[in-house]
């Protein structure tokens, strides 16, 4: 009954063209990701091995592996998240469960949003001024970790808030109606049912903290440091340390005549870690979402 005439045919053609164009645009984002990861692996292949991970850089960083930077990154990431997670989660609990809609709360919200947009080099300057100099921590793992913690804090707050907000209000009201206090309700009903969202947010910040260079460049990451291979307690919190991200920067720009595979190998470990951590976060999110209790 509805015959296709030339007008509707043209409309359909235009729509198909638009669809194709948008698809290509999307592809143009996806393809670089695959190409980049693929190319990095390809160039790094000769050097990738377990030895690469547990051997220190040698010969002015023109040979050897990435043990010292790898361990340094682990220290900084772990310490920064141990600091940022409790503060971030509790701050989100305050904003979502306790704060009333006053101008003061709006200011806090604004502060969190703006903290999220601070450039990484400004975090570096802050860390230098506040932790290295003012707090007299000197350039150290602890100063770098504190700087990273301030950097990851706003995202942990935001993702925790989202997780808390996804618990429906009627649950809280039912608890208050039987005489549970606000904190009891949070502790026994709201928080346990927000864990997956909180966990996902924290895990994602692991990859971010591991990948950042500028905030640690002037607060604790160092060009070179010799530590014992294979010893996971080789660093002390007040030491300076090497870090993977810094190491990649160093050997690709500061050291001449580095064999090609070395920086590619470092980049692969970095990207591989980031992708693996993100994949874990996504898996956690999917799995716990399916086990939702309502």
């Amino acid at each position: 009954m509805f015959q296709a005439n030339s007008h509707t045919r043209n409309k359909q053609r235009a729509e198909q063209a638009a669809r194709a164009a948008l698809f290509l645009m999307t592809l143009l984002m996806v393809v670089p990701l695959l190409l980049i990861v693929g190319y990095l692996f390809y160039e790094a292949w000769p050097i990738l091995s377990f030895d690469f991970l547990i051997t220190n850089p040698r010969n002015g960083m023109r040979a050897g592996g990435i043990w010292a930077p790898l361990l340094g990154t682990v220290y900084m990431v772990v310490i920064s998240l141990l600091i940022a997670t409790p503060i971030g989660v509790l701050a989100a609990v305050f904003l979502n469960e306790y704060a009333r809609a006053t101008w003061f709360t709006r200011v806090i919200n604004l502060a969190v949003v703006n903290l999220a947009g601070v450039p990484s080099i400004v975090h570096a300057l802050f860390g230098l001024g506040a932790f290295v100099l003012f707090a007299h921590l000197g350039k150290s793992i602890i100063a770098a970790s504190l700087t990273l913690a301030i950097m990851t804090l706003p995202v942990i707050i935001a993702s925790t808030r989202e997780a808390l907000a996804s618990v429906p209000m009627p649950f809280r009201e039912a608890c208050w109606n039987v005489g549970a206090t606000r904190w009891q309700t949070i502790r026994h009903v709201v928080l346990p049912n927000s864990i997956s969202g909180i966990l996902t947010g924290v895990i994602l910040q692991v990859s971010r903290a591991a990948g950042e260079t500028a905030p640690i460049m002037f607060t604790g990451a160092v060009f070179f440091k010799a530590i014992r291979e294979g010893d996971i307690f080789a660093y002390h919190p007040f030491d300076q340390a090497m870090a993977l991200s810094m190491h990649l920067f160093t050997i690709s720009t500061q050291v001449p005549d580095v064999p090609k595979a070395l920086p590619y190998g470092t980049a692969v470990v970095l990207v591989g870690t980031v992708l693996a951590v993100n994949a874990i976060a996504i898996a956690v999110r999917v799995r716990l979402r399916s086990r939702r209790k309502w």
Binding site: E173, A174, C175, W176, V178, G179, H188, K293
Partner: protein, 254 residues
């Protein structure tokens, strides 16, 4: 009626949101162990009244409360620990809610939060309250399963069990039957009949006949005012004190 002092005394109660008045100078009392029905069209302030009694009005942004509300002789706004008030005054909300806990933990929740730790004590309480709420037979073999997986009617009975679990002296029900099937409504009405001599009940309902069935006295609220409060037969007779009562009860307006 037995012990002299009323269970709930409300005097000059006003509630407003900004300039909008939701309750205007309400004064009445609820006698110990009576069933007081509260009827009236939507937006009359009935739910707000209940929220004032257990002080959950404090979580509603912008609410301003004036006047006096006393439960068992105590001014509610003077009570330091609001949780003790909320254990004394049980509340059943309109929409059924099962907490995302096991059925056992649902009913044991309030006593646990109040400090009861003894396992046997909790088990006794849970069974007693589930029996009182006419839910025990249906769930006794699956107390570990999630409360959220029950049907609407079962969840509303679970809510009643929760409300009874902390030994309240007053039970407030806010249009409890609005989202459940008629059979469950009847069963819950039987529950209320069983409880009536041991506990004071304030029953806000949109089902006029429900008040007629259950209430000793009935109050008619309209647009924020308490229009009339009298023995139930008087409210439902040919000649209540206010013509609006007659009109509402006859369904002339809703």
């Amino acid at each position: 009626m037995v012990n002299g002092r009323p269970m709930v005394e409300i005097s000059g109660l006003g509630v407003r949101f900004g300039r909008r008045e939701v309750l205007r100078s309400i004064s009445f009392s609820v006698e110990r162990n009576e069933v007081l029905g509260i009827i009236g069209p939507a937006q009359s302030g009935k739910s707000t009244l209940l929220k004032v009694i257990n002080r959950t009005i404090e979580d509603v942004p912008g609410a301003v409360v004036t006047g006096s509300v006393k439960v068992d002789g105590e001014e509610v706004s003077d009570i330091r620990d609001v949780s003790t008030l909320r254990r004394k005054v049980g509340m059943v909300a309109p929409l059924p809610v099962g907490l995302p806990l096991s059925i056992f933990d649902n009913v044991a929740f309030a006593p646990r939060m109040a400090g009861v730790r003894d396992r046997r004590d909790l088990e006794e309480r849970v069974e007693r309250c589930l029996r009182l709420a006419a839910l025990w037979e249906e769930v006794k073999d699956r107390l570990d399963s999630l409360g959220t997986r029950l049907s609407g009617g079962q969840q509303q009975r679970l809510t009643i069990a929760r409300a009874l679990s902390h030994d309240p002296e007053v039970l407030c029900l806010d249009e409890f039957s609005i989202a459940i099937d008629p059979v469950t409504t009847m069963r819950i009405e039987d529950v209320l009949r069983e409880l009536r001599s041991t506990i004071t009940i304030i029953l806000v309902t949109n089902l006029v006949q429900q008040a007629r069935r259950l209430a000793d006295r009935t109050a008619f609220f309209f647009n924020g005012d308490l229009v009339e409060l009298d023995q139930t037969e008087a409210i439902f007779s040919e000649t209540p004190k206010d013509v609006r009562t007659l009109q509402y009860v006859r369904g002339i307006f809703g």
